[in-house]
């Protein structure tokens, strides 16, 4: 899952990036409204966190521009503006959620996971057949057997399961699992897929990840 943080205060952007990366998110940071909007337009993000008061373009303006482009990416405002009018104004500009500063990191994390839930998903846990993924604790179970994964392997598996029954192209996987500092050599995906398959096979669910030749990979529910 790849996130964009648009925040001009380096201290806040810093700990958000650190904390979220520890949660296996790929995180990009933009320090002003304009570069934030550029990032949002060129890359595909699973969620964007925007501070309201940022230089060049305000957070509200960035949010409006993103929505105008037709994007439905979840947007969260993170701001010190805390009056009722501000909250309503922010949400009406197209944001999905609004968190007031100062906030608890755990709450932010929980709210990010809520935004990442799909429509028919009651809680945060993800399933594909007998495979069960808990993004909160980073645990993966096959039946009742736990599979230990590295952060990157986990992020890759999480992305595939979230998009199950859909073909995930290599470029999309790169976009959503790795951050902007990674050069887009897609062969690294094949390496991680191999690692993943080996661990899954060891647990007894061998051919969960299928290759679509020349395109990418898919996990099917059945």
């Amino acid at each position: 899952m790849r996130l964009l943080i648009i925040e001009d205060e380096p201290g806040i952007a810093g700990f958000l990036k650190d904390g979220l990366e520890e949660e296996y998110f790929a995180v990009d940071v933009a320090y002003d409204g304009k570069s934030g909007l550029d990032h949002a337009m060129t890359n595909e993000y699973d969620l964007i966190i925007i501070d309201w008061m940022i230089p060049v373009l305000s957070g509200i303006e960035v949010c409006r521009q993103i929505r105008k482009s037709g994007s439905v990416v979840p947007i969260m405002f993170l701001t010190a503006k805390d009056t009722l009018e501000d909250v309503v104004f922010g949400l009406e500009a197209g944001a999905n959620d609004y968190i007031k500063k100062p906030f608890a990191f755990e709450e932010l994390l929980a709210r990010i996971r809520v935004q990442l839930r799909s429509k028919n998903q009651g809680d945060d846990s993800l399933r594909a057949g007998n495979l069960n993924i808990n993004p909160g604790t980073h645990q993966v179970f096959y039946d009742s057997l736990e599979i230990t994964l590295t952060p990157k392997e986990f992020a890759l598996l999480e992305y595939l399961v979230r998009n199950k029954d859909k073909v995930c192209t290599r470029s999309r996987i790169i976009e959503h699992v790795w951050d902007i500092h990674f050069d887009s050599d897609t062969s690294v995906i094949d390496v991680y897929i191999t690692f993943l398959r080996r661990k899954l096979e060891h647990a007894g669910c061998g051919n969960l990840i299928q290759t679509i030749r020349g395109v990418g990979y898919i996990i099917r529910e059945s």
Binding site: E9, K81, D82, F105
Partner: protein, 469 residues
Amino acid sequence: MSLRNRIAFYYTITTAFLIALVFAILYFMVESIVYKQFDEEINNEVTELFTDAHATSHDFTSFSRFKTFIDDNIEVKIDPKEAVKVDTEFIQLVNIEGEVINKSINLARNVLIFKPGETTMIYFNSTINNSAIRQGQLPLFNRDGIIKGYLIIAVPMKKAIIVLNDLENVFRFSFPAIILTLFVLTRLIAGKSIRPIEKVIATAEKMTQPNIHQRIGLPFHHDELYRLSATINALLDRMEDAFQREKQFTADASHELKTPLSVVKGTLEVLVRKPREREQYENKIQFCLMELNRMAQLIDQLLMLARYESNKMNPHIQEVSLPIALEAATARLHPIAFEKKIEFKITGTEKASVTADLAMLDIILENILSNAIKYSHEASVVTITIERQERNILCSIADQGIGIPEEKLHAVFERFYRVDESRSSGTGGFGLGLSIVKRLADIQQIKVGVKSNKTIGTTFTLTFPSTAS
């Protein structure tokens, strides 16, 4: 009493007084015309009598002739059935004692009133058998000019009195009606003309802090009410502006306070989520301490600003040597100036003493000088000039720095204003320093000016009030 009723009341009282006066004058004029006519009639009668009696003037020798003449003459006209026939004239002759010598028969047993002691012809009102009459009383003289008796003539006034009474009644009954109508009408008109005031009141009543943006609709005519409304609107504009600035300040202050708080809280929360290396802990704790120091600094400045703005400061104004104060301020700032290789040059150092609060002056100088250092290019000179201009002392502090764009110059004294909008810039201030300078300068009546040029740098000028001596 409402304004509308009061206007109507005063107006009505004044008008009532005037109407009463006009009515009275009218009444007395009519009355006097009526009496004059009767008096005329009496005079005619007298002349006629004298002519008929072949008497010349008021001659007493003719007196006996009158005695016979009156009875002969008048009797014919009298209807014997009526005791007193009041619509004809009455004639009566009295001697000097007032005893009736002769009288016309139509008087029957009645006697006309006699006023003794009169020496000229007099006219007066009286009654006979409860009927109003007008009497004339003419003295009669003998050859030596001594009054020997009086000729009294009376004419009935019945019809005239009815007219006068009618007139009086008309006035008496129409007066309250007119006054009442007038009051009602004035009240209506007053109500109409003060309706714009009602509108002003209604608008003002609706105005509370959240919707102070409402304005009073201006009336069509450019009259006093127009001016009142316009003045109130202008006042509201200024108030709204002040509210807006206060709101902006609160928003800025809360942002500036919450940001470091969020940074520290978030950093520590992320830090304790997992066990880490010692070095990582130390790094993050160092970082948090830095943020906390910055926050403490901000709180100090905010408190200072709050204290100065509450106007409870009593500056201890005294004679202060400006060069010495500058010397001390530059010495304190030497470490950071040294780091950027910035040199202070103080020129025109005459023995300039100014009236100021020493502690406040120190804060002013330190803030301006540290700004000069902050925005100067490395290895440049900050020139401080002290000069005397007429009775004032001017102190200008000029840097060779990045300058302030013309369009932002006016806002530098506003709280939380920073020319460089990105707070992440390395200069690290809060935008409160110059607000504090301005406030402190105002308290001491020091004028602060600023001019700037992108290529030359920024110059701040302090104009001190002239010393009392």
